[in-house]
């Protein structure tokens, strides 16, 4: 079963490496959105620091939403998804591998680029570290929840807009705690364990519940 996981993961990563622009789109979307706010709001240091946690998280939400459609769409279009539905190993494993690959390609780059954003918004090293840490826990949740929406809207006209409507309300807890933790550190508090614990709890919950729901949605969408 673990071999299936590794096979699908390796396949998705290889496919993405052959078409690198797909991966970079989300990353540059994130950077551009984050860079737009100082231009629109004004570049006073205090204002920027004040809005930084919220802006970064909303941009991360939108960036992860932007690439969701591609999670299953290519496999659906060329028929390989149907082959995956037919293999004897549980579909949940395949789904989990695909989500993991998706996060490695679209979520992890956001975490790694976060210090750059921190510089743009005048954050201290400690605040940047907190931002990276919550993004590291938070972005997998976004990929997991988003996978359900991507599977439900597979092959629909205007699927991208629809996914936003279905999934954004469910992203709210991650936004609240992710931005809350960073704002807390900026407020001078050292202890943000509660935020990490809650985000960790969401991650565990999503890790258990999302793959079966996504698998069920894939079966419904492709019958």
């Amino acid at each position: 079963m673990f071999r299936v996981f590794l096979t699908v993961l390796g396949r998705d990563l290889t496919l993405a490496m052959r078409r690198r622009t797909d991966v970079l789109t989300a990353l540059f979307f994130f950077i551009i959105v984050v860079s737009l706010f100082p231009l629109g709001i004004g570049s006073q240091k205090e204002t920027l620091r004040f809005i930084a946690p919220g802006v970064v998280w909303v941009a991360a939400l939108l960036a992860s939403l932007l690439v969701l459609e591609r999670l299953f769409a290519d496999d659906y279009a060329d028929g390989s998804l149907e082959q995956m539905l037919l293999i004897p190993q549980p579909l949940v494993i395949v789904v989990l591998a695909k989500i993991t690959a998706h996060w490695l390609l679209t979520g992890l780059p956001l975490v790694l680029i976060a210090p750059l954003v921190g510089v743009q918004y005048h954050l201290d090293p400690q605040e940047q570290l907190a931002m990276m840490a919550v993004l590291l826990i938070g972005t997998p949740i976004l990929s997991l929840i988003g996978a359900i929406g991507a599977a439900l809207t597979l092959g629909l006209r205007g699927g991208g807009v629809l996914v936003a409507l279905l999934i954004l309300p469910l992203y709210i807890p991650v936004l609240v705690y992710g931005a809350g933790a960073v704002a807390r550190v900026m407020g001078g508090s050292e202890d943000i364990t509660a935020y990490f614990q809650l985000l960790g709890a969401f991650l565990m919950l999503a890790l258990v519940l999302s793959p079966p729901a996504t698998a069920a949605a894939l079966r419904i969408s492709s019958e």
Binding site: I148, R157, P169, L170, V176, A194, A213, A217, I220
Partner: protein
């Protein structure tokens, strides 16, 4: 004795039953809502002596807020029944429930905003309860959007059922995520539920109004489900023999 539990899960049997039930539920709804609101608006004592009569919007506000949450649970229950037993009618009930639920959510938000403007001095506040009610409205809208985006009724039923169930799991999480862990950070304007302290006349009027709204939901959902049955079963022979179709 043998009971056929699934008799009314067949659209052919449920269609006339729903038709017979609409009138009683509609009459009950009218009587209860008129009585509840009249009692609430005119017959409850002035508990607030300083003329703050605007509190009386509580009757439609609380009743519709209750119904908005209850109907989501009902919708998910029908979606679950549909996924488990694979019955067409359950999915039709679920999709017939969604618009009424969204309507009550909207009413709760609007009456709440009016009440908020008069008593707090603001139409809207990013308070946990208000925000979760708004998210509930988004979930209803998402459910209806997904349903109408998929043309194949079988797929659209099952996909939106999965979405509704995922939404139900998320509702408590969203509620407590906005009710943040640190009470100092989120001063909420909306008071906590305090039914125990409400004067019994007011409580009764509120309950009667809520039951009236519930009866209204029954009537409207039956009307909507009958239309759905006709639409989806239009090729069945029993539909062609109905007097209203001939």
């Amino acid at each position: 004795m043998h009971i056929n539990w699934f008799k009314y899960s067949a659209p052919v049997n449920f269609y006339p039953l729903a038709g017979r039930l609409i009138l009683p539920f509609a009459l009950l709804a009218i009587v209860l809502i008129v009585f509840g609101l009249y009692w609430g608006f005119a017959q409850t004592p002035d508990v607030l002596s300083d003329q703050k009569q605007y509190y009386r919007i509580i009757y439609p506000h609380v009743a519709s807020a209750w119904m908005s949450m209850w109907l989501y649970v009902v919708m998910v229950a029908w979606a679950l029944v549909g996924l488990v037993f694979n019955t067409r009618l359950s999915f039709m009930m679920a999709s017939a429930t969604a618009p009424t639920g969204a309507l009550f959510t909207f009413i709760a938000l609007v009456t709440g905003a009016i009440w908020g403007k008069t008593s707090w001095g603001t139409w809207w506040d990013w308070d946990p309860r208000l925000t979760s009610e708004l998210i509930l409205l988004f979930l209803y809208v998402g459910y209806m959007a997904l349903q109408s985006a998929i043309e194949d009724p079988r797929r659209s039923d099952r996909a939106s059922a999965v979405l509704a169930i995922v939404g139900l799991i998320c509702i408590p999480i969203i509620f407590w995520s906005i009710n943040c862990p640190d009470p100092n950070q989120c001063a909420s304007l909306h008071q906590q539920s305090s039914l125990k302290y409400v004067e019994s006349n007011i409580l009764l009027a509120m309950l009667v109004t809520a039951v009236g709204f519930w009866m209204y939901s029954f009537a409207v959902i039956f009307m909507r489900v009958r239309r759905l049955i006709l639409q989806r079963e239009r090729n069945a022979s029993w539909v062609a023999e109905l007097p209203e179709v001939k």
